[in-house]
């Protein structure tokens, strides 16, 4: 996968603790334009907290986050708003607006940021809904009426609403059946290829990592080890070894055993 060399997201010296529990202690990470960057780590390692810090939802004790070379802590409201219109996010639990239909969920960012006539909004939103592989009749449904996999897709459609250049995904394939997860991976792969998106993706799914990611950051011991996928699998850290070469990983390498 091509790498332009332009840093689009940078985290420096991030420190997060909740009471006595230290989650991050001097975490650094860099994402280049057009990367598909996988964040992995054990449950509770602090992946979601990292994402929340990047999005400005968590206030780290120290450290800086810059997107497109701009330190987010130094931006004013209007500048932040334009930065935010430039990235899309899906949360681990979907976080669809429960009072709105899927169509309205997708339209919501458009209404906030674009001034378009109602008909154009409808068509663009339907386009995004179709793009993520949802059936047309899902558009009129409320989040409570969707299956788990449909929630993931609807959340992706909403994240894509403004055609962001940068996409943050928190466990986009967890809770999907293997076929659905593979379809999601293909979808992401296609979107990345066609739209030249930069994707930052938290995942536990090895298949997803090998299908999509060119670089991987592993949270171990409250810091992050970042490298290309090809090299990180040989990293000496025992957790990383166990992760990429453990029982499940072997089954995967052997084509799920004959």
């Amino acid at each position: 996968m091509p790498q332009s060399g332009r840093v689009i997201l940078e985290v420096r010296g991030l420190v997060n603790h909740f009471g006595a529990q230290v989650v991050h202690d001097g975490l650094d990470m860099q994402v280049y334009a057009e990367d598909v960057f996988g964040i992995v780590g054990g449950s509770g390692a602090g992946k979601s907290v990292l994402l929340r810090s990047i999005l400005g939802l968590e206030h780290p004790q120290s450290g800086t986050v810059s997107i497109g070379g701009r330190d987010l802590a130094r931006l004013n409201y209007a500048q932040l708003r334009t930065v935010k219109a430039d990235y899309g996010v899906t949360f681990q639990a979907g976080a669809l607006y429960s009072a709105l239909t899927v169509l309205q969920n997708v339209q919501f960012p458009m209404i906030e940021h674009l001034q378009l006539p109602a008909q154009a909004l409808d068509e663009l939103a339907m386009l995004k809904i179709r793009l993520v592989g949802l059936p047309a009749d899902a558009a009129a449904k409320y989040p409570a009426q969707l299956s788990g996999g449909m929630v993931k897709r609807a959340a992706l459609a909403r994240a894509l609403a403004l055609d962001p250049q940068l996409l943050f995904l928190d466990e986009p394939t967890s809770g999907l059946d293997p076929i659905g997860a593979a379809a999601f991976d293909d979808l992401l792969h296609e979107l990345h290829r066609q739209l030249r998106l930069t994707v930052v993706m938290i995942t536990h799914d090895l298949d997803s990592i090998f299908r999509n990611c060119n670089r991987v950051g592993v949270i171990v011991d409250r810091r992050m080890e970042v490298d290309t996928l090809a090299r990180i699998v040989d990293h000496p850290n025992p957790w990383i070894q166990a992760y990429f070469h453990g029982e499940r990983a072997r089954a995967r390498e052997e084509g799920y055993g004959a």
Partner: protein, 375 residues
């Protein structure tokens, strides 16, 4: 000068060079430039994209619309070089099947409509009444079943609810009781002074606060604080499927969520009422002392003269009944929440409004009842 287009016209053909970054956020400007183009008399339109730095899906969609409109107008459209890939993505996504935003189901206006509306309303009111009754029955059954063992009554949960609904409400209840007794005393003093009958202010304050207002205002405050909290807590649990999880683990949500709240409030509200009564009388004493120069001893004498055997107990007796009504309304509406945050807000509102209404209605009924039996 345009930011996104450069048009070169020759006779009946137009060459359109796209340039800059075509992004969703600039869709309005891009759309304006495209619709400003004059295509009349143009037979062939050639679109060139070497200067186009970026074309995202939304603006590709706008371009596609533009091309479709041009073709409808009889212009032949072609690309110099390859067609942008984004247009193919769109074609694929849009061709999967007909893409139409599902419209709202339109019902036709007609003269029958008010009648059908009325019908719907009656049916839904009847359903509501029936499910309310079912809820009541179920709570009664669960409560009787739980009464057999201390563990199933969940004393710890009850204690928590006594604390949340009672102890934390003391400051606001005390303040309101004080203010209300001051208002009664002040209002009646103004009237009674004209007849030199100031001493009866004490009677009014005593009877008014002990019999009616102490308990009524306390109940209204608690309905606003705790009725809404009950509905919101339980409603959020419904939204998170926590209530379903309870069912699935074999725990009856009525036993865990409804009964402790009812019992907790039945303990808390009478106690709050006693506090309100005491503070109310104290407020009356203060006002009588400083406004009417009735010394404290005389005030106390008058209080004990005016107070009947039942005055205090009538007020306090009503408290547990009001508590049941508030808790029932709150938990019932909470358990009805499903689907969306809007439902949660709607049902929490209903819980508060209905519990306040029921309390006042019940108080009126009590007033009639006590008058009939002459106490």
């Amino acid at each position: 000068m345009t930011d996104y287009l450069a048009a070169r016209r020759s006779a009946d053909s137009l060459e359109l060079a796209l340039k800059g970054e075509w992004r969703a956020l600039r869709l309005k400007e891009i759309g304006a430039e495209l619709s400003a183009l004059d295509l009349s008399g143009v037979r062939t339109l050639v679109i060139a994209t070497p200067d186009l730095a970026l074309l995202d899906l939304s603006s590709a969609w706008r371009l596609r619309e533009f091309i479709a409109a041009a073709e409808r107008g009889g212009t032949a459209v072609s690309f110099r070089g390859a067609q942008p890939e984004q247009l193919q993505v769109l074609d694929e996504a849009l061709s999967r099947d007909s893409v139409k935003a599902p419209g709202e189901a339109h019902t036709h206006e007609s003269f029958i409509e008010p009648v059908t509306e009325l019908g719907h309303y009656v049916v839904s009111a009847a359903r509501d009444a029936r499910s309310g009754l079912a809820f009541l029955g179920r709570v009664a059954v669960v409560m009787l079943a739980a009464a057999g063992s201390v563990r199933r009554l969940r004393p710890i949960a009850i204690a928590r609810h006594v604390y949340d609904t009672g102890v934390t409400a003391i400051p606001i209840v005390a303040l309101i009781a004080f203010l209300i007794s001051v208002i009664i005393a002040f209002l009646s003093a103004q009237q009674l002074q004209r007849f030199g009958a100031e001493i009866f202010v004490v009677d009014l304050v005593t009877i008014g606060v002990l019999r009616e207002l102490g308990v009524l205002l306390t109940a209204i405050i608690v309905a606003g604080r705790s009725g809404s909290a009950f509905a919101a807590e339980i409603g959020t649990m419904c939204l998170n499927e926590e209530v379903d999880a309870l069912y699935a683990t074999g725990v009856d949500p009525y036993e865990l969520l409804v009964v402790p709240r009812i019992l907790g409030l039945m303990i808390a509200l009478p106690l709050l009422t006693v506090i309100a009564d005491a503070i109310g009388l104290a407020g009356g004493a203060l006002l009588c002392r400083f406004l009417l120069d009735i010394p404290l001893t005389q005030y106390l004498n008058r209080v004990s003269e005016s107070i009947g055997a039942w005055t205090f107990w009538i007020g306090v007796m009503k408290a547990p009944i009001f508590a049941i009504l508030i808790a029932l309304a709150g938990t019932y509406r909470g358990l009805q929440v499903s689907g969306s945050s809007r439902e949660l807000g709607r049902l929490t509102t209903i819980a508060v409004v209905q519990s306040i209404f029921i309390i006042i209605l019940a108080d009126a009924l009590f007033a009639v009842l006590f008058m009939e039996i002459n106490i």
